[in-house]
């Protein structure tokens, strides 16, 4: 497809975003692998890992924006989908450790040996195969989102009620995964990974490849999300966001549309989690913490909801600031994040994307879309 036919699909800013993403996605791994350390162009290893992490966060923020910015569903539980995708990938990598663990048990991960378990629980079977793990990366968050959404949207739980129960959902999962009996490593989670598809996770080449894959996943999901929101489907979910009952009286099954976009979004979050885990080397229950999910919402709000690229950019900018501040001024970080949450909601409802719109004419959302409360009838 030519650039001309891409433009209306992506929008001007989306096109720039995708171009930048391509440059970074290819440039960073290249400059890391094929330049010598110390040279002016060299990208150090830690930047690759850190950057890869940001790209995963960007994908998570994009998935939040897809349901929140376009369909008005404020999910405070998207961290759960991210973590489930991460756990699926983590389980694959645990199985790859094999006999190289501390206890040298070829069949059982270390934590199971430690708990004196004799056999592998049934739900761990199959994770030795990469395609199976990938299937679960998609299925675990997808099925949870489907079941949860099916109940919630059918009974028309909306607005803050939905937000509260999504938060309760991730909180319940947090508690569940903390239990050793669950068989997911309890408190410590899954860690000490050795390799993925035979490549050592610590190797520079693997890191670079994971960075590239993260960029690719972000780009692909961005295009997919743009295709969805530009279709009639996209117009319908925006209609649901602005006037849910009007959509219903026009004969659209609102719950089906919400469910579809919620599941797609959950899967994207799951993919982000799956790419995140091999790069940070650990997945533990704290990923389910409700505050993680809210933080992802703040990324999307800061970047500019309802733009997709803004959410991704917001995640990258905030996390870069977080990395810097937690090192330089550890006490300041929560003040900054908290202040950001307040300032963005009160003074920058359109986020960074809205600021850009100030000096470039840009399709913006009308005020109605920002209110998010269902239009009264």
């Amino acid at each position: 497809m030519s650039a001309q036919s891409f433009m209306p699909l992506l929008g001007r800013a989306g096109f720039i975003f995708l171009a930048l993403l391509t440059v970074v996605g290819i440039g960073v791994p290249t400059l890391n692998l094929f330049t010598t350390p110390g040279s002016l162009l060299h990208v150090p290893d830690y930047v690759v890992t850190l950057g890869g992490k940001y790209l995963c966060y960007a994908l998570l923020a994009l998935s939040v924006d897809l349901v929140w910015g376009y369909c008005g569903i404020l999910s405070l539980g998207h961290g759960a989908f991210f973590a489930l995708g991460g756990y699926a990938m983590g389980m694959y990598m645990m199985r790859q450790i094999g006999a190289r663990g501390v206890y040298g048990n070829a069949e059982l991960p270390d934590f199971m040996v430690f708990l004196n378990w004799k056999t592998l629980p049934w739900y761990w079977h199959g994770f030795e195969y990469f395609p199976f793990a990938i299937l679960l990366v998609v299925l675990a968050p997808g099925v949870l989102a489907f079941v949860f959404g099916w109940f919630a949207f059918r009974s028309r739980v909306t607005g803050v009620y939905l937000s509260i129960i999504t938060q309760a959902m991730t909180y319940a999962l947090l508690l569940a995964f903390f239990r050793n009996d669950m068989g997911f490593g309890g408190n410590n989670g899954l860690t000490d990974f050795k390799d993925i598809l035979g490549f050592p996770v610590q190797a520079a080449g693997t890191r670079a490849a994971l960075f590239l894959l993260s960029a690719l996943a972000l780009g692909t999901c961005f295009i997919a999300a743009r295709v969805i929101v530009n279709s009639k489907f996209g117009k319908i979910i925006i209609g649901i966001r602005d006037a849910e009952s009007r959509t219903r009286f026009l004969g659209y099954r609102v719950e089906h549309f919400k469910l579809f976009i919620f599941v797609i979004s959950a899967i994207m979050a799951g993919v982000a989690g799956a790419l995140y885990v091999p790069q940070v080397g650990i997945i533990n229950p704290s990923e389910f913490a409700p505050s993680n999910s809210i933080e992802a919402v703040i990324w999307a709000a800061f970047g500019g909801r309802g733009t997709l690229w803004g959410a991704a950019l917001g995640a990258i900018v905030i996390n870069a600031v977080k990395s810097y501040l937690t090192g330089a001024l550890p006490n300041a970080w929560l003040f900054v994040l908290g202040g950001l949450a307040i300032v963005v909601t009160i003074y920058m409802p359109k986020g960074l994307a809205g600021l850009f719109a100030g000096w470039k004419t840009f399709p913006t959302m009308p005020k109605q879309a920002i209110d998010l409360g269902e239009a009264a009838e």
């Binding site: 803050v160 309760a168 319940a172 703040i298 929560l334 209110d371 409360g373 269902e374």
Partner: protein, 535 residues
């Protein structure tokens, strides 16, 4: 020495009739060094029979393996190692008896049956201690072992006992011992009847075990008694669970009731509500510190002073938040949620910066420590009772305030029809600030209570916020009675699930149940009909 003398005399006269009595206790002690385990057992019996109070020391040393015999003359000493040599002490008088190299002395060994014999013997000996607690422990030890040989001592002790509580325990111990003795059937029947009055699991298993070892009619009588105890036990367990449930419910109610005002009445999702609770707890801590510095004598009443302080501090900060953040976001509940989450982070970090990240502990005043105990094992701790009363008092005060004061009237009118209330001259922005202050102040009061049972840390609020939201939503937003019902239901349900599922799983079940419940009744138990609930 008088007491020793009297114990000595009573033992001497009533418990044993033995030739050993005539002998010098010292000679009896030396007999421990000789012969095999059987003979050593006989020597122990003889010692016990002597009734000398110093026998307890000797037996204790024997049990601990500190009793040694000198190879040269078979005299017995308590030996304490000091390098390669041992310091020797007379076992009866504890006076210094010189020292000996390790090779000159030999430890007096005991086997398991001797060890059991010693501990039983010591229980009977301590039955006559001057200290009521020691006597009680001795009786409990006999109750646990059911040692029939202690029976005569026990019966004597019961006769001499003037502390009724201790006498009761002794009677039960005697009943338990009777079952294992060779006393006649009638005595055993009486013993079973005595034991049947108990309500604890140990007695029940003791009776069941006994039933297995005898034949009817004792067997059926013991089984019936065990059954009776089990029934009583399950009743008491239920009562205990209900109490724990009420206690949890009172905590949930405290945490949620302020939210029921801000969320329920104003429709504002305040994610910083938990931090208002946390601020209340820190206020309690600070007030207590101030009391300890300036009026240490009155520090038991610091908590009373903390109640108004916590209310006003949380209320003031709440009003500041309302005026500076929330008022710009009315009608945008999802954005309010995000902004107040930001506020919660700032408050947490501010408190962490001021007080440090570590837990602070608030001491429970003496009038709130302790518990009301029942003989059947039920126990109600005073601080939990105080919190329950406190929660109900706040609830009642709030109901009255909303019903009968002008602020309550204004709150209700603004809730029902804001433009109309404005038209009637009610300054709705002032009512908003006051309502939010009230909700936050109540959260501060919750903090005072929670400081008594939980660690005071910057994260205190986080552990309650999700529960609080669920209580309010479950009970029905905008309805204080619904909040009460929600807190009670969730609290009691949680505590009834815990014995079967464990604390964490119980909590997960409750979360899932509430999520499912909200699907069924999105407006909660007691839905309020009104325009704003559609927000």
């Amino acid at each position: 020495m008088g007491a020793f003398r009297s114990i000595f005399t009573s033992l001497f006269m009533l418990i044993f009739v033995s030739v050993a009595l005539a002998q010098d206790v010292g000679v009896l002690v030396d007999k421990l060094a000789l012969g095999n385990f059987t003979e050593r057992g006989a020597a122990i019996s003889a010692l016990v029979s002597s009734g000398s109070p110093s026998v307890v020391t000797v037996l204790q040393a024997l049990e601990d393996g500190r009793l040694y015999a000198r190879k040269s003359d078979h005299k017995v000493f308590i030996a304490t190692p000091s390098g390669d040599i041992f310091k020797l002490a007379d076992p009866l008088s504890n006076s210094d008896s010189g020292q000996a190299p390790k090779t000159d002395i030999e430890k007096i060994k005991v086997n398991n049956s001797l060890r059991e014999m010693i501990s039983n013997a010591m229980s009977s000996l301590t039955l006559f201690s001057k200290d009521a607690k020691v006597r009680k422990d001795a009786a409990l030890a006999i109750l646990k072992s059911g040692d029939a040989s202690a029976l005569p001592a026990l019966e004597k002790a019961i006769a001499a006992e003037n502390d009724t509580a201790v006498a009761d325990i002794m009677r039960i111990a005697a009943a338990a011992a009777t079952l294992k003795s060779d006393r006649p059937e009638e005595a055993k029947k009486t013993a079973i009847a005595t034991l049947a009055q108990q309500t604890d699991r140990d007695t029940a298993s003791l009776l069941t075990a006994y039933a297995a070892s005898v034949s009817d009619p004792l067997r059926s009588q013991a089984l019936a008694a065990a059954e009776k105890i089990e029934v009583a036990l399950s009743t008491w367990t239920a009562v205990q669970n209900i109490w724990f449930g009420f206690s949890l419910a009172s905590v949930l109610l405290l945490a949620a009731i302020g939210l029921a005002i801000t969320f329920g009445v104003m429709g504002v999702i305040n994610m910083a509500h938990g931090e208002m609770v946390m601020l209340g707890a820190y206020t309690t801590y600070v007030v207590e510190q101030l009391f300890q510095i300036y009026v240490p004598d009155a520090s038991d009443y610091a908590i009373v002073a903390a109640i108004p302080s916590a209310f006003f501090i949380s209320a003031l900060i709440g009003m500041a938040i309302e005026r500076s953040v929330i008022r710009f976001l009315y009608g945008r509940p999802l954005e309010t949620l995000l902004a107040t989450w930001g506020v919660s982070l700032i408050l947490q970090q501010a408190v962490r910066s001021i007080f440090g990240p570590t837990n602070k502990s608030v001491t429970t005043p003496s009038w709130m420590s302790g518990s009301i105990d029942f003989s059947n094992g039920l126990s109600f701790t005073l601080n939990r009772i105080a919190i329950l009363i406190f929660a109900l008092a706040i609830f009642a005060a709030l109901i009255l305030l909303i019903r009968y004061t002008s602020l309550g009237l204004q709150m209700r009118s603004v809730t029902q029809n804001r433009p109309m209330a404005n038209a009637m001259g009610i300054r709705s922005s002032r009512v908003d600030a006051l309502t939010f202050g009230l909700g936050s102040g109540i959260a501060g009061l919750a903090g005072v209570a929670l400081s008594q049972i939980d660690n005071v840390s910057p994260n205190l609020g986080q552990s309650y916020i999700i529960d609080s939201f669920l209580v309010v939503v479950f009970g029905g937003v905008g309805n204080l009675w619904g909040t009460l019902a929600g807190a009670l239901t969730l609290g009691v349900a949680n505590k009834f699930l815990e014995p079967f599922a464990g604390a964490v799983l119980a909590k997960i079940f409750i979360l899932v149940a509430v999520i499912l419940f909200i699907q069924k009744k999105p407006r909660g138990l007691f839905a309020l009909k009104g325009r704003w609930v559609d927000a």
